[in-house]
Amino acid sequence: MIPRVIALGRHGCDLLEALGRSGLFLAQSALGWPSREGLYLWLRQMHFVGVLSLAIVLVSGLFIGMVLALQGYTILIDFGAEQALGQMVALSLLRELAPVVAALLFAGRAGSALTAEIGLMKATEQLTSMEMIGVDPLRRVVAPRLWAGFVSLPLLTVGFSVVGIYGGFLVGVEWLGLFEGSYWSNMQASVDFIADVGNGMLKSLVFALVVTWIAVFQGYDLIPTSEGISRATTRTVVYSSLAVLGLDFVLTAVMFGGLS
């Protein structure tokens, strides 16, 4: 009995310690005025994390918008309400699908790569060498990646929504023959910029923070062996997906559930 309680206590302490370590890590690396060199580093990471993720995010957005329109049309036509298609596609994309799916794709495409890259730097003792020559690896390696993640995921989410709404337009209007005017006007009548677009962006900012934080911290904190790197990469994807889906429920309840 007693050994079990001790084991539980050890787990609790480990968990709290990891939380504290990761919080300190986030504060130390994300805060602070960037140097000119830091801006260049950030730009490079923006290219890797943002621009190169654009293709997968936009293609997924297009297909999700098309599927939403197709499914929505077949259901709405039973009620004679196919005019509400634009409203349905736009609201489900802006409020839920774009922030969540873009964050999940981002965790798989960019988050895992960040973990593996930083992990390999740690395993080959590049981070230690940097400290030896007086360069702070938190500012040189971690901070540009964190900031690139914070900035690019909201941008990717915007792209996802725009392409998804266009995909819904392609299927609903061009293919299924819905009247073009009712697609856009019902959308405009029901979408509110602050309540829908703004809250979706807020969600996306929170997800960006959480996903990049998890990815970078897992890379920095792993056991520097090849097995450790593979485990940390898996953990990044699993933890960030779970955190995104869980946080999404909480944020939705607060933003749209009338719980305020």
């Binding site: 060199e37 260049y40 580093l41 730009l43 490079r44 923006m46 290219h47 943002g50 621009v51 654009l54 009620f79 004679g80 309400a81 005019q83 509400a84 736009a90 802006l94 900035v151 690019s152 909201p154 941008l155 990717l156 915007v158 792209g159 929504s161 725009v162 709404i165 856009w184 959308m187 405009q188 009548a189 029901s190 979408v191 509110d192 910029f193 829908d196 677009v197 962006m201």
Partner: protein, 154 residues
Amino acid sequence: MKRSKTMELGVGLFMLAGILGLVFLGLRVSGLSLSVPADTFTLQANFANIGGLKPRARVTMAGVNVGRVSAIELDTDWYDARVTLELDGALEGQLSRDTTAAILTAGLLGEQYVGLSPGGDPETLGDGDTLTDTQSALVLEELIQQFVSNMVRD
């Protein structure tokens, strides 16, 4: 630090596309307009029953958008709904005193909106005036009740 021009261009285009996307979401999807909010004036109207009317609903005249519903509250003097309409400033002093307001439904299942019909009185409505001639929303349950009680009577 090696930086290629194409990479910088890529990041620049990426950020520009994000900002343009946000503008698209604002203008095309949520229907914001760039023009400064034009001057408006308010009218009050009391309805016996507003059905499913919500703030921000459209106000139309002959099918043309002329404003929106800015507030709905319970009038405790008469226990009916007091609806505040925010109308285009160009109409101030143009609507006759006996203009009627009705709560209409767009399509069978669509949203509810307020429709104004012009009257013939030479006197006109100004800011803060009240529309007296109103027509409540069509509530389906009441219609069915009426229909059923008529059937029973026959």
